[in-house]
């Protein structure tokens, strides 16, 4: 198969030769490796890559992926990182209006009765910058003679991949992991990996989040080898019976297709500290399930006591030799909707939450583990118990950290199409995507699927969120259905259905609003509400703000169906640059890069300044969230 530039224009082409999304578990060769969190199956490709930049697809270095191509003109770039922060391409902040506003006239393919599919819209887009990346690697000895896959944790916004000149695959969805099998193209010694990253594709219509518009390989890249018998996927269901004292443990395991012929076995243990709850050995099959293991006097997981059981799965070959060992932390908790109130472990849930964009004033959305750890300290210090991953999946490490720190997650998939239905403040969905367009449903369902399949085992996730501000139609209803079909243990969330109430019964288990004044919330709760109420975004903390928070928290005492919400938002989006006048480092925001159209200082609505120092308002959040920290 050959790479085709037209995929950029086709909303129905969003993954080519990608491996299906699966659980984000890690695996190790030995128990010692597991304890050291260092897997010899893994080879990081982070670091310096060769790089060439082109302003348009037509100017890109065609054929650069071939080992014998001329790479004289290639410079260097750091991976992970944004192209625009590496000295190529203009920084741009815009909120709702698409980045091509006023420059190019675009309407989504198949919207407004279009039957052409709009060929050339992005493949010939004069604003579609291209980054050509090259990386040479030699497999570590530990990875040789194995099946080897490559994992891209985040590439914005569309990527083509080659190995040693052979086309491997194509991916969209900037914020989900993209995985490809490299095995057929690997060679002994040096290998040449080539990635072509386009800033725009049909995915641009689906990624209109209120943020700086970056491109490039902005999250880690790694090679991962797999042993002959390998656990591809696991599904943990750590349920709690309605007595709230008995755990009900279920496990689904998927191995490679030929696992059954290998004579291999799986040794599954579940421990609470030193106490062994489950110790079972089963023959390896392509699909194996361990169901309904009762756990009496189960130690429940919640914000105040995020207790985790230790699941360990050892894959042993026919002779009993360890092939791989997979650890996973398991939290038993029960999320349910009872008498129209959301309960966690039988108690009414109160969300003292924040919306958190991944942001680092030096690195943009390419955040570090240190950023995440710092953020959790802030959460803990100020009684923040919940986070909405606005409006895309975050780095995988964040979910593990939330498990361990008892942070309730509203796990949002990567979707925002604000610019297709809200114009100049008016609701105007004439060319809304995905809407009910069949040609766009595959792409958004894929985003829901990636989000679910990757993160399904994290106890921290209480809600799946279908995305943000994308209006409502059949396609988003199908996303809601997908989550419910696959997960009985969590609730769905979507605010945008309030713009098209026809879908109220099909979309979102909760009534969610953004920026409703307290009075409007009272009106809802006073008039026979059908769903519990959540503020997915409230207390807009732009500049010197966050006044009158008690008008919201008072509702907690007055209405059982009011369940709190998520402050907008956690951190200002601004970037460190050197002042063109003084040479001193200064923080700059939207519009400061000659970027137009811009929404300027609207990029800063955080509880923290962009450098992560707290705004004065944080002490108020701390007070009220502390007051309702139950």
């Amino acid at each position: 198969m050959q790479a085709d530039l037209k995929w950029l224009d086709d909303p129905q082409t969003f993954r080519v030769n990608q491996l299906p999304a699966h659980s984000d578990h890690r695996y190790y060769r030995t128990v010692a490796e597991m304890q050291a969190h260092q897997s010899s199956f893994v080879q990081s490709l982070d670091g310096t890559w060769q790089f060439a930049f082109a302003q348009t697809p037509q100017e890109r270095p065609v054929g650069f992926e071939q080992p014998d191509a001329d790479h004289q003109n290639f410079g260097e770039i750091q991976v992970p990182g944004h192209i625009e922060l590496a000295g190529y391409g203009q920084l741009h902040y815009t909120n709702t209006l698409y980045p091509w506003e006023g420059k190019l006239y675009r309407r989504p393919a198949y919207a407004l009765g279009d039957t052409t599919g709009m060929p050339g819209m992005f493949s010939e887009g004069s604003d579609n910058t291209v980054g050509a990346y090259l990386k040479t690697f030699t497999l570590n000895p530990e990875l040789r003679d194995h099946r080897v896959v490559i994992q891209f944790d985040g590439v914005e916004e569309a990527m083509y991949l080659w190995l040693n000149g052979h086309f491997v695959g194509y991916a969209e969805d900037s914020f989900s992991q993209s995985e490809f099998d490299l095995t057929p193209y690997l060679q002994a010694g040096e290998n040449l990996l080539a990635v072509e990253v386009f800033k725009r594709s049909t995915a641009a219509f689906l990624e209109d989040q209120d943020f700086f518009r970056f491109s490039g390989i902005f999250r880690s890249v790694r090679l991962v080898a797999q042993p002959a018998v390998h656990l591809n996927d696991l599904t943990i269901r750590a349920n709690v019976l309605d007595d709230l004292t008995t755990g009900d443990f279920n496990l689904g395991l998927s191995l490679n297709d030929d696992a059954a012929q290998s004579g291999a076995q799986l040794k599954v243990t579940l421990c609470a500290g030193e106490q062994v709850v489950l110790d079972q050995t089963v023959p390896a099959q392509a699909e194996t399930a361990i169901q309904h293991v009762p756990v009496p006097n189960v130690h429940l997981w919640d914000h105040h006591d995020p207790y985790l059981y230790r699941l360990q799965i050892e894959v042993l070959d026919a002779s009993g030799r360890l092939l791989e060992v997979v650890p996973y932390d398991v939290g038993f908790r029960r999320v349910e909707l009872k008498d129209k109130v959301m309960l966690l472990n039988g108690h009414r849930l109160i969300l003292n939450g924040v919306n958190r964009h991944e942001w680092d004033a030096k690195r943009g959305r390419s955040v570090t583990l240190a950023d995440m750890q710092y953020d959790l300290q802030v959460f803990k210090q100020h009684h923040i118990n919940a986070v909405r991953t606005c409006h895309y999946p975050d780095q995988i490490a964040w979910y593990y950290l939330c498990d361990r720190n008892g942070i309730y997650m509203m796990a949002e998939n990567n979707l925002e199409t604000h610019g297709t239905w809200q114009k100049m403040g008016a609701v105007e969905p004439s060319y809304n995507v995905p809407g009910s367009l069949p040609q766009w449903q595959g792409a958004v369902l894929d985003r829901a699927r990636s989000n679910y399949q990757t993160f399904k085992n994290h106890p921290a996730i209480l809600f799946w969120s279908l995305g943000n501000e994308s209006y409502a139609g059949d396609d988003i209803a199908a996303m809601d259905q997908y989550y419910h079909d696959h997960d009985e243990g969590r609730l769905t969330h979507y605010e945008g259905v309030c713009r098209n109430r026809v879908y109220a019964d099909q979309i979102s288990d909760m009534e969610s609003m953004m920026y409703d004044p307290p009075k409007a919330i009272r009106d809802y709760l006073d008039h026979d509400p059908q769903k519990p109420f959540v503020n997915c975004e409230y207390m807009h903390d732009m500049g010197n703000s966050l006044g009158g928070m008690n008008s919201y928290t008072d509702l907690i005492d007055q209405y059982p169906m009011y369940q709190g919400g998520f402050i907008w938002d956690y951190i200002d989006q601004a970037l460190w640059v050197n002042d063109e006048v003084t040479g001193q480092p200064v923080l700059r925001y939207g519009g400061d890069f000659d970027d137009r159209h811009s929404d300027y200082e609207f990029s800063g609505d955080g509880l923290l300044f962009a450098d992560r120092t707290p705004k004065p308002a944080l002490q108020e959040v701390s007070y009220y969230y502390g007051k309702y920290d139950r």
Binding site: Y515, P517, P518, Y538, M539, H540, D541, M542, G543, N544, S545, L546, G547, G548, M549, N550, S551, D572, A574, D579, V581, T582, Q584, V586, L587, R588, Y589, D592, E601, F602, S603, G604, D605, F609, A610, T613, K615, P616, A617, Q619, E620, V621, S622, Y623, Y624
Partner: protein, 321 residues
């Protein structure tokens, strides 16, 4: 321990009224329309006469709900409201304004228990209203400052109401007894009462400079400076001045800039070099709001309607502090 025998010395000048005592020397200017010199132990505390203040640098929420547009009149009033009337009282009795030639009947050794001087400012708004600032000085050098705003129907809501003191040099910092952090009427629940020390004159680094640094419900604040503009005073020993509550706690901010200077900047680095101290005592503070930043108003109970009177009072502590 107050020296009960001390007298307040009064100098009935041709353009000013001087009030002196042990360790203090105050000069009220008739043509400048206010307290022109507040000298303590030889150190000057005023750069220009204190003036009523009505403006606050537009917050993002103010911009979003068009508050500054509706109340723009108060920006002019903040900058330009003239002093239109002055009255003096000695020991509680009003006297004829002691300017030439009326003051020819006084001597070089006039004293009083207390002297009050009242400055009336007429706002440049349409319709106009008045603010009366009264300074009552006693022999200890304590100045009781009372401000009265006369409500006037037909005026837009006030962005702020206070009395602004611009000091000649930037302070080293200030200490206060009040609430932690920065507080506003609708954002003070998290503030904890205590003694706090602030180093320097921090401007809260909002991306767009705006109203900041408010401290509600304050018992007293002490500003400390180390340098003066006096060319004959090379001394850099720190010296302080304390503002304290009268009967009720007061609100204040202590920044290096006026509301207008903050208003003009789109980034913090555009603000001028740190040069002065701007201490403002606020008699009324508008809330900051927080529902959204593109239209939602501050909750009604935190507005400052201009059709009602406001009174506030505080004391600049005397030398026996």
């Amino acid at each position: 321990m107050a020296n009960t025998t001390a007298k307040l010395h009064v100098v009935y000048g041709d353009g000013t009224l001087g009030l002196h005592g042990e360790g203090f020397q105050y000069i009220f200017s008739y043509d400048r329309g206010g307290l022109e010199s507040l000298k303590r132990n030889g150190k000057e505390w005023l750069y220009r006469v204190p003036k009523p203040t009505f403006w606050r640098a537009t917050t993002d929420n103010d911009r979003g709900n068009h508050f500054s547009e509706r109340s723009a009149m108060w920006l002019g009033a903040d900058l330009f409201s003239p002093c239109t009337h002055i009255e003096v009282a000695v020991n509680g009795q009003d006297i004829t304004l002691p300017i030439a030639t009326e003051n020819n009947r006084y001597s070089d050794h006039e004293t009083a228990e207390t002297v009050t001087i009242r400055f009336t400012y007429t706002t440049t708004t349409v319709p106009a209203t008045t603010v009366v600032v009264s300074y009552t000085v006693d022999a200890t050098g304590a100045i009781r400052v009372h401000t009265h705003f006369t409500g006037q129907p037909g005026l837009p809501e006030l962005p702020a109401l206070g009395l602004r003191f611009v000091m000649p040099t930037a302070a080293q910092g200030f200490t206060y007894h009040g609430l932690s952090g920065e507080t506003y009427p609708d954002r003070m629940a998290g503030g904890q009462l205590g003694d706090y020390q602030v180093t320097g004159l921090p401007v809260t680094p909002y991306m767009v400079p705006q109203e900041c640094g408010m401290h509600m419900a304050t018992e007293h604040v002490t500003v400390t400076r180390a340098i003066t503009l006096n060319n004959a005073d090379p001394d850099t020993e720190p010296f302080s001045l304390t503002f304290t509550q009268a009967d009720q706690p007061f609100n204040f901010s202590c920044l290096p800039y006026t509301a207008e200077e903050l208003e003009n900047a789109t980034h913090i680095e555009e603000l001028p070099p740190l040069r002065r101290t701007v201490l403002t005592v606020f008699g009324a503070v508008r809330g900051v709001g927080g529902i959204d930043s593109w239209g939602a108003d501050v909750e009604a109970k935190y507005h400052l309607p201009a059709d009602r009177d406001y009174d506030f009072e505080f004391v600049i502590a005397g030398t026996q502090g």
